[in-house]
């Protein structure tokens, strides 16, 4: 990963992922009903909606953790009814989680290194010796990881077990872990919850950088309207599992249904 330079921003391209008519329910609870939308290459796509609207569930459907009862997902031209989580990961989908899901017993560095697992393939026997190819591979990936660490400015906490980090830094490490997978599509579930303004600004900057300089497509769930409106290209709004609006931030902001269901007073 290069350090951010002044390269022009990668522009929005073709549809990368499309979700068609997806429905998901748990027993009696309908988490998602017949939602369709798409995400284009290179864009920042926000998903918003009141609590329990089905946003997180939607991300879970996209990367294969939940299997919808109905609907299709097309990712990079391939359509399927459901994915397996590791297929999604192999395909280039990475994510962060609403309730931080770091590997609590490991250091920040190891967490991010774990994100590189997919890209590592030296066989078991070299691993036993930790020598030759195994060591070379380790060092090579370590270099990439160190770049991410620099990028996210978390050098000092490299060796700290993540369980002890304050919430905001945990979120940052989690972003690092997702970035380490060098994904094409990055799903962020409330990356800025529990951060103060300064940290939100930093985080926004990271997201923009990732998007601009690496061309990573981003799906973003966030409750801070300021952030959503400033960062995203397009916004989907869910309510009670139904899509109630889809469009540019400005359109969405003025949509009466959205104001009623979600925003309350106009922002």
């Amino acid at each position: 990963m290069r350090a951010p330079d002044t390269a022009p921003r990668a522009r929005v391209g073709d549809v990368l992922l499309s979700v068609e008519d997806v429905s998901l329910s748990f027993g009696g609870v309908k988490a998602i009903s017949g939602v369709s939308f798409d995400i284009r290459q290179g864009e920042i796509r926000a998903i918003i909606g009141p609590n329990g609207a089905g946003k997180t569930s939607m991300l879970n459907v996209i990367n294969g953790f939940y299997h919808p009862q109905q609907g299709r997902i097309t990712f990079k031209g391939r359509t399927r009814a459901k994915m397996r989580p590791y297929e999604a990961a192999y395909g280039g989908i990475a994510r962060t989680f609403q309730n931080v899901a770091l590997f609590r017993g490991m250091s920040a560095l190891d967490n991010i290194m774990a994100g590189r697992t997919l890209k590592m393939n030296v066989n078991f026997f070299w691993q036993l010796l930790r020598y030759g190819p195994a060591m070379r591979e380790e060092v090579e990936h370590r270099r990439v990881v160190e770049e991410i660490i620099d990028f996210l400015k978390i050098q000092e906490i490299r060796r700290t077990p993540v369980g002890r980090l304050p919430y905001g830094l945990q979120k940052r490490v989690e972003l690092g872990r997702a970035l380490a997978m060098q994904p094409e599509l990055l799903l962020l579930d409330e990356p800025m919850a529990g951060m103060n303004l300064e940290e939100k600004e930093d985080m926004s900057r990271f997201i923009l950088d990732v998007n601009e300089y690496y061309g990573t497509t981003i799906a973003l769930i966030e409750h801070d309207m300021g952030v959503v409106m400033d960062l995203s290209d397009r916004v989907v709004v869910l309510d009670h599992g139904i899509k109630i609006a889809d469009g540019t931030p400005d359109e969405v902001k003025r949509d009466q249904a959205v104001i009623d269901a979600y925003l309350g007073v106009a922002h």
Partner: protein
């Protein structure tokens, strides 16, 4: 003051990723190794036979279980049985091909244990936590039953037990009653050290990270492309490999023979307790735990004799039980994360010494 990394800068990632990045640690390890290998020069038979050899073997088994339970988070109560698989495999191998170097067979027996372990690891995909314990318990009791029932395993010996034949390596007797305790100790030590080193390699690399990832948050791991079943099965296999080798060592270089009861559930529990008290997910912890649970009672048993207090052997035993129980609780309260953690906090304190924090 004396324990600092200050001034020790790392100039390459490779050296930063070394297992003991701090010079003092490296010196410490070297000293311990030298001391360990030269122990036969000044220790008596009792220390070697009844203390050090068992301690090392338990440490190895604890490392094995720690790989599975401490690093991968899969609770296993089948350690005893997996050790048994190793022991019986080694026994069969060396009775079928007596001319092959026994150390080769000791290592090979690990593969049998690994295979059996992986089979009993299959349910781990669906079953978790204490529930998984049942799968391993089934392994424990079923295998124990096999050790009793399948006479082929113990070469149809009337006693139902296995007796270790005499084997030599490079002309030195290493197994059987005539092997000296020094030889056996050195062989065990070498194997245990080598396997600890390998375990440490594994844990510091990709495999260790995937295991810990599965332990800490299996869903997130899966969403990052770590496939759970192969990862868990590999952990079961590697762990059982270690236990199997430990079992073979136990019978061949310590007991000199064994009946199935040696591999019973208590053995499994003992080793589980070693890793918990030593520290889950720590290789050092495996050693510390083995020391606390195995060596401490031995030492306690000698205390009244040293002090010249005339009390009955049985009473000593009762009191030892009580003291060990109390100490376990005490250590847990002082540091639930295990002795290894206590050690690292100690180091942390040394680092900031003379300041309190």
């Amino acid at each position: 003051m004396f324990y600092r990394e200050a001034g020790q800068f790392k100039t390459s990632y490779a050296s930063d990723q070394a297992i003991f990045p701090i010079l003092q640690d490296r010196i410490g390890i070297a000293v311990i190794l030298v001391a360990a290998f030269s122990l036969p020069l000044y220790a008596n038979d009792f220390i070697l036979n009844a203390v050090m050899i068992p301690f090392l073997i338990f440490a190895l088994a604890s490392i094995g279980l720690n790989l599975l339970t401490g690093y991968t988070g899969q609770l296993s109560l089948g350690t005893g049985a997996f050790m048994g698989v190793g022991a019986y495999a080694c026994y069969k191998l060396t009775s079928i091909w007596p001319d092959v170097n026994i150390i080769v067979w000791v290592i090979c027996s690990g593969f049998f244990a690994a295979g059996v372990g992986a089979i009993f690891g299959l349910p781990s995909l669906r079953i978790k936590g204490f529930y998984l314990a049942i799968a391993t318990l089934a392994a424990q009791f079923f295998l124990e039953w096999c050790f009793i029932r399948i006479a082929w395993l113990y070469n149809y010996n009337i006693s139902g037990a296995i007796e270790v034949p005499q084997r030599t390596v490079l002309g030195v007797i290493v197994t059987g009653p005539r092997a000296t305790s020094e030889t056996r100790y050195i062989v065990v030590l070498a194997i245990v050290v080598a396997m600890t080193w390998i375990a440490s390699n594994l844990m510091h690399g990709r495999i260790g990270r995937t295991w810990m990832a599965v332990r800490d948050m299996d869903i997130a791991a899966e969403l990052m492309g770590i496939r759970l079943l192969p990862t868990k099965l590999m952990a079961f296999a590697v762990s059982s490999f270690y236990c199997g080798v430990a079992g073979a060592l136990m019978v061949f270089l310590w007991y000199g023979g064994a009946e199935p009861a040696v591999f019973n559930i208590n053995q499994s529990f003992t080793i589980l307790f070693m890793i918990i008290i030593g520290g889950l997910g720590s290789l050092l912890g495996a050693y510390l735990g083995a020391a606390l649970i195995y060596i401490l009672p031995i030492v306690l048993r000698f205390v009244p004799e040293w002090l010249g207090i005339p009390i009955h052997a049985a009473t000593v035993e009762h009191i030892t039980f009580m003291i060990v129980g109390v100490l376990i609780v005490f250590f847990l309260i002082v540091e639930p994360a295990g002795l290894a953690r206590l050690w690292s906090i100690g180091k942390q304190k040394l680092r900031v010494w003379p300041f309190p924090y």
